[in-house]
C-alpha cells in the first residue's frame, strides 16, 4: 500500500494536471489531418470551410509560399488603370478559424506514405490531401519563346512581377505602337481573360490619345468566349484599333523573336513594340509530378466531389482540374472548393453531405462602365461536370445594364476575397 504523503499528493496532483493537459495534445494527434497545397481561391477556400465548419475537429494545414496572395482575377483591371496594384494583394486571415498556414512551397507528394514534403524538408502526413496548385506556363509551346524570353515578351498570366512588367511596357508605348498578343489554345485559365486584356490595353492607348496604335491578336482558336460582345465593344470604344486573327487568317504561328521583337505567322512577320505571349498551360508541377494529371496536362476528377481519378485520398480542384463544362476561373475554383470542403469533412468527421452544386460567373470589363458577364450552373452528369443552366450578356444592352454589371463585377471581387481569405 502506498501512503499518500503531502509530497506524494502534490506529485499525484501534478500528474493529474498533466493528464488534464494531455488530451489536448492527444486529441491534436488523433484528429484527422487535411493538408491543402495552394492558397488561391480553390485551396484557401477549402482550408477555411473545413476548419470553420468542423469547429476544430479537423487539423487543417494550408501550404502556400506567398505570405500575401496576389489575385490573378482583376489583374487586367490593374493593366487598364482601373485598380491600383495594392488592391490585388490579399492578406490571409484564416488563423481564427484554426487554419495553420505554412509559408513554404510543397515540393513533393508521397502518395503511398500519404505525406507532403515541403521545400525545407518538413514532412506533413495527411489523411486527405487537397491539391490546388493552379497552372504552370508551357514555355516550350511557342517556338522562339522561353522563361528568359518572357522577361522581354511577358505572359503575365500568373500574377506578380510579370503583370507589373507588362503594365510598365504598356504605359511606355508611344502613338503608332504595335501590340501583338499571342492568344492561348484551350483549355486555359480565364477563357475571356485575353480579350478583356485586349480591351484594357486599348483603353490605356485611347486614354493617352493614341490614334495610330494597334493591337493584333494571333489566335489559335476560331472563336472565343463572349466573342460577339468583345467585338461589338471594340468597335464601339476603340474603332480600328483591334485586329483579331483566327488561324484561317494568319495560317498558324511560326515563331517569336524576342531580340528582333517580331512575331512570324504563315501570313507575315510583324514588328512589334510589345508582345504578350499567353501560351499553352498545364496543371501546376506538383500535381503532374504526383501522377495526378493525364496526357492533357490537367487532372481528371470525379465530378460528384472533385476527387482525383487517380487517388481516393486526394482532391484536385481549381485551374489544375479537368472540370468538364466549368471554366478555369476563380469563381469556379471557389465553387468547387465548397463541394470539396463538404466531401472532405464528410469523410473525415462523418458530417452530413449533400449533392454537389457548382456555379460560375466571369465578368469582363470592355471599357469604363461597360462590363459583360457569362456564367452558369453545373452538376455532375454522365461522368462529367455538365452545364445545366447558362447565361451571357447580350449585344446591344443599354448603358444602364452595363453600368450595373460593372458595379456587380466590383462587388463580386470584394465578396470573393472576403469569402476566400477572411
Amino acid at each position: 500500500m502506498i501512503a499518500i504523503t503531502r509530497r506524494g499528493f502534490s506529485a499525484a496532483a501534478l500528474a493529474g494536471a498533466a493528464t488534464l493537459a494531455l488530451p489536448a495534445v492527444l486529441r491534436a494527434q488523433a484528429k484527422p489531418r487535411l493538408v491543402v497545397i495552394g492558397g488561391g481561391p480553390a485551396g484557401a477556400t477549402v482550408a477555411k470551410y473545413v476548419a470553420k465548419d468542423s469547429n476544430g475537429a479537423v487539423d487543417v494545414t494550408l501550404v502556400e509560399p506567398l505570405p500575401k496572395f496576389v489575385t490573378c482575377f482583376h489583374s487586367n483591371l490593374y493593366l487598364g488603370g482601373f485598380k491600383p496594384w495594392d488592391a490585388l494583394a490579399q492578406d490571409y486571415k484564416l488563423a481564427g478559424y484554426g487554419v495553420k498556414k505554412v509559408n513554404q512551397m510543397a515540393s513533393a507528394i508521397d502518395r503511398d506514405k500519404k505525406e507532403v514534403r515541403l521545400a525545407d524538408g518538413t514532412v506533413l502526413p495527411y489523411d486527405r490531401l487537397v491539391v490546388a496548385p493552379g497552372i504552370d506556363i508551357d514555355f516550350a509551346s511557342v517556338p522562339g519563346w522561353s522563361a528568359e524570353a518572357a522577361e522581354i515578351m511577358p505572359h503575365a498570366w500568373k500574377p506578380g512581377a510579370q503583370t507589373q512588367l507588362l503594365k510598365k511596357q504598356l504605359d511606355a508605348l508611344q502613338d503608332g505602337a504595335t501590340i501583338v498578343m499571342i492568344a492561348p489554345p484551350n483549355p486555359y485559365r480565364c477563357p475571356p481573360g485575353p480579350y478583356e486584356r485586349v480591351s484594357c490595353m486599348a483603353h490605356i492607348l485611347k486614354t493617352k490619345g493614341h490614334s495610330k496604335s494597334r493591337i493584333v491578336v494571333i489566335d489559335p482558336k476560331d472563336r472565343f468566349s463572349k466573342m460577339a460582345l468583345f467585338q461589338e465593344g471594340w468597335q464601339n470604344h476603340y474603332p480600328g484599333m483591334v485586329e483579331w486573327m483566327d488561324p484561317k487568317m494568319h495560317g498558324g504561328l511560326k515563331n517569336v523573336d524576342p531580340k528582333a521583337m517580331t512575331v512570324t505567322t504563315d501570313l507575315e512577320t510583324i514588328k512589334a513594340d510589345l508582345v504578350n505571349v499567353i501560351p499553352k498551360q498545364m496543371a501546376g508541377k506538383i500535381a503532374r509530378d504526383a501522377g495526378l494529371a493525364n496526357a492533357s496536362g490537367f487532372c481528371p476528377v470525379d465530378p460528384t466531389n472533385m476527387k482525383s481519378s487517380q487517388d481516393p485520398s486526394i482532391f484536385v480542384l481549381g485551374d489544375a482540374a479537368i472540370a468538364g463544362a466549368m471554366p478555369k476561373s476563380a469563381f469556379a475554383a471557389n465553387s468547387q472548393a465548397k463541394v470539396v470542403a463538404m466531401a472532405a469533412r464528410g469523410e473525415l468527421t462523418g458530417a452530413r453531405t449533400f449533392p454537389a452544386r457548382y456555379a460560375n460567373t466571369c465578368w469582363s470589363i470592355i471599357a469604363p462602365d461597360d462590363t459583360v458577364k457569362v456564367g452558369g450552373r453545373y452538376e455532375a452528369k454522365d461522368g462529367a461536370i455538365a452545364e445545366v443552366e447558362g447565361f451571357v450578356s447580350k449585344t446591344g444592352e443599354t448603358a444602364d445594364v452595363r453600368r450595373q454589371t460593372s458595379e456587380e463585377n466590383m462587388g463580386w471581387y470584394s465578396g470573393i476575397v472576403a469569402d476566400v481569405f477572411a
Binding site: 470551410y49 465548419d53 469547429n55 476544430g56 492578406d91 490571409y92 486571415k93 484564416l94 488563423a95 481564427g96 484554426g98 498556414k101 469563381f331 471557389n334 465553387s335 465548397k338 470542403a341 463538404m342 452530413r352 449533400f354 452544386r357 456555379a359 460567373t361 458577364k373 456564367g375 452558369g376 450552373r377 452538376e379 445545366v388 443552366e389 447558362g390 447565361f391 450578356s393 458595379e407 456587380e408 463585377n409 466590383m410 462587388g411 463580386w412 471581387y413 470584394s414 465578396g415 470573393i416 472576403a418 469569402d419
Partner: protein, 115 residues
C-alpha cells in the same frame, strides 16, 4: 494575421451560437417554415461568393438578416424569371422550395456586422 481565439473564447462563442441556433429553430418552427439550417448552411456557401456574410455592401446587395418570407419571395421571383439579374436567375432556377426555405432560415438567422 488574425490572432487565434483562446479555446475558452471559442467554447463560449460556440455556446452562444448554439443558443442562437436553438432560438432560431424555435422561431422558425413557430412560423411554420421548415428550413433545414444545416442544408441552408451548405447552400449558403454558394451565395457568399458574392453576397458578403458580414452584410457589407460593395456593389452586390447584402442578404443577411432578412425576414424569411421576403427572402423566399424574392428567390422565388428569380426562379420564375420575373426578376432581371441573369446570375440570380441561374442560381435560383435549380433550387427547390425546401432549399429556398433552408436558405431563408440560414441567412435570416445571421445579423449584419456593425463594425
Amino acid at each position: 494575421m488574425t490572432p487565434r481565439p483562446a479555446p475558452a473564447v471559442l467554447a463560449a462563442a460556440a455556446a452562444i451560437a448554439a443558443l442562437a441556433v436553438a432560438a432560431v429553430a424555435v422561431a422558425v418552427a413557430a412560423d411554420g417554415v421548415k428550413g433545414d439550417r444545416e442544408l441552408g448552411q451548405y447552400l449558403s456557401s454558394e451565395c457568399v461568393t458574392c453576397h458578403q456574410i458580414s452584410g457589407r455592401y460593395d456593389g452586390i446587395p447584402p442578404i443577411v438578416g432578412w425576414p424569411e418570407d421576403s427572402f423566399v419571395e424574392i428567390l422565388d421571383e428569380y426562379r420564375a424569371k420575373k426578376r432581371e439579374n441573369q446570375v440570380m436567375r441561374s442560381i435560383a432556377v435549380k433550387f427547390s422550395d425546401e432549399e429556398i426555405a433552408a436558405l431563408a432560415a440560414y441567412f435570416g438567422s445571421l445579423k449584419p456586422k456593425t463594425d
